[in-house]
């Protein structure tokens, strides 16, 4: 901690430096993308339910960074960032939100329900918690096939009250499956505060009741999220069974774009905004010797470009044709079976 500032960037491995900047870029990109989404929603260019993850960017970035190709991720409704970090083309993602043909679901479903399995992203249904059994099944496949991949299931503290979550965690524990459960505890499920959702403080305490470890971390601290995830993921990949990481965080915006969140205390919001993950991480970059002003300018410019290009791509993309309504319902059955 006592090393001369400004010197590190030069002395550290280039990959490390690059990752540091990459993480920053991701958080900034997610925030910029989501801000634009909110705006487009107000302009009626994006409709249906839109759920902002503003304030929670460090979780997505920190958890996804240590993942590999072939890993399976089931994001929650607030995890637009997962798509960006895992390499989904921002244009296609924006097209997805606008219901365009070029979107992940070809206009079939809204917001984040369109997955991209090529990038290991499962498109969850709206039914909170129901993606955890599915992630567990993906992990089961990895175990059966002796693959070194892992599955990651994100869920809110609100979803933790669903029965599916219990069934999933219990089975993962029994089978020692390579699955990481990530709880984004932002203290509210829609309008319902934590104390009306559970009688305990930490969702992570549940892990032990399923025979694996729960970790609590500040979800607004990118480095902390990254550090615990790297450590835990290494163990999971190593066959040591599931784990849970609970990230304490806060939702800046309303539950959805329709929600003014009047049930919340303004003080509470301000308190949490002062823990914003981005300035915190900027301080780190500075301490590590990056020229923050320049980095920020460069990255802001880049994210603006990317977002703008995404919007243009999406706006120029056509809507699906009506007859496509009946497509994509069934996969072709494998073989034409002979009649008796």
């Amino acid at each position: 901690m006592a090393q001369p500032e400004g010197a590190r960037v030069a002395t550290e491995p280039a990959a490390r430096v690059e990752q540091e900047l990459q993480l920053y870029y991701w958080m900034k990109l997610i925030r910029a993308f989501e801000e634009r989404v909110s705006r487009l929603h107000r302009q009626n260019k994006i409709f249906g339910g839109v759920y902002s993850g503003a304030g929670q960017e460090a979780i997505v970035a920190g958890v996804c960074a240590p993942l590999r190709d072939g890993d399976f991720v089931a994001p929650l409704h607030r995890d637009l960032g997962v798509f960006l970090v895992r390499g989904v083309d921002p244009g296609r993602l924006m097209a997805q939100l606008m219901g365009k043909e070029t979107g992940l679901s070809r206009g079939k479903d809204s917001f984040l329900h369109g997955g991209d399995l090529e990038r290991g992203i499962f498109g969850s249904t709206s039914m909170l918690g129901s993606s955890l059994p599915i992630a567990v099944g993906a992990a089961l496949k990895f175990k059966m096939k002796r693959e070194k991949n892992i599955a990651v299931a994100f869920f809110g503290e609100g979803a933790s009250s669903r029965g599916d979550v219990h069934e999933a965690m219990n089975f993962a524990g029994v089978q020692k499956l390579p699955v990481l459960f990530v709880c984004e505890n932002n203290r509210y499920a829609y309008s319902t505060p934590l104390e009306k959702q559970m009688a305990i403080e930490d969702v992570a305490d549940r892990a032990e009741a399923y025979g694996f470890r729960g970790h609590v971390v500040s979800g607004n601290d990118l480095l902390a999220v990254l550090e615990v995830t790297e450590r835990v993921v290494a163990k999971i990949r190593n066959g040591e069974g599931p784990a849970l990481i609970e990230c304490k965080t806060y939702r800046y915006r309303g539950h959805s774009e329709h929600d003014a969140a009047l049930y919340r205390d303004q003080e509470e919001l301000i308190e949490w905004q002062s823990r914003d993950p981005i300035p915190g991480y900027e301080l780190f970059l500075e301490k590590k010797g990056h020229d923050l002003k320049r980095v920020r300018e460069q990255i802001d410019e880049r994210t603006q470009k990317v977002v703008q290009a995404a919007v243009e791509y999406a706006e120029q993309s056509p809507f699906p044709k009506p007859e496509e309504a009946l497509e994509d319902l069934f996969a072709p059955a494998l073989a034409a079976a002979p009649k008796k």
Binding site: F47, G48, G49, G99, K100, E101, S105, G107, K108, D109, S110, F111, H113, T125, S126, M127, L128, G129, S130, G158, A159, S161, R162, G163, D164, A189, Y190, S191, T192, K196, Q197, M198, Y263, F319, P320, K321, P322, E323, E324, A325, L326, L329
Partner: protein
Amino acid sequence: MELTYIKAINSALHEEMQRDENVFVMGEDVGELGGAFKATEGLLEAFGEERVIDTPISEALIIGAGIGAAVLGMRPVLEMQFADFISCAFDQIVNSAATLRYRHGGRAQCPIVVRAPSGAGIHGALFHSQNPEAWFTRVPGLKVVAPATAYDAKGLLKSAIRDNNPVIYFEHKRLYRSVKENLPEGDFTVPIGVAELRKEGADLSVITYGGTLAPALDAAKIVEKEDRLSVEVLDLRTLLPLDREAILATARKTGKVLIVHEDRLTGGIGGEVAAIICEHAFEYLDAPVRRLAALDTHTAFSPPLEEVILPNTNKIVDAIRNLAAY
């Protein structure tokens, strides 16, 4: 007093909670928020936290706990935030609640109401557009209602709350603020099990409910004007038990029936209605019983897809003309 459909629901809840201290509401965000659609607005202030209970996200618990309270004499009104999530509480409804009285040999009852905001046409996509009513209309021991007007929304909710049996109450989200009506002051109810003739006619009957009543009435007006067709429109209102008399009466009267619903064609309640007509009004039929419903797929998100999937006034007009020409 002019009330919207959602306000009619809200006022039924207020009045019933006032009338009977055993009535309480429970669900996600029903308290301070007043529900995702404001159906429970003001209840917390009026009746306090003990009778307006915010739950965790636990649909099976919401229904199950409602059942437990109901067998002990309470009258819970249980809210699913969207009807789509009723799938998460399915077992509690179709097994715990629907069989309760039967398996207790008639010595118990389960007066719960499950409020389920359903229906499409609001860009809700696959999981906020569902019309799940036909999953429940095949379950003995349940009653299922689906009001299409503000009057019925209020009157049927009151009847449901006072009924001693489990009632699934499907309220159509698209009607919440689009439907307004002058409602009488004071207490009134709408009986469960009774359909309502919304328009008399001689040439052809449209049987419908919920979200497709208004487009059906619009279509009837159009063909009356443009084609001089006299169309009768029957609003089922209750989907279980069906009002067989009313269904058969209109079928026998006009001899040509078009069934319209926003739920999908295959497995929608239209099949049951058509089967009843074909069995019991066979001699009166001048044409095949036709059905117009959502396409057999999920309710897609993108506007051109949603449009082609869902029934609407134009499609009903076409179907009426086709059938009339048979």
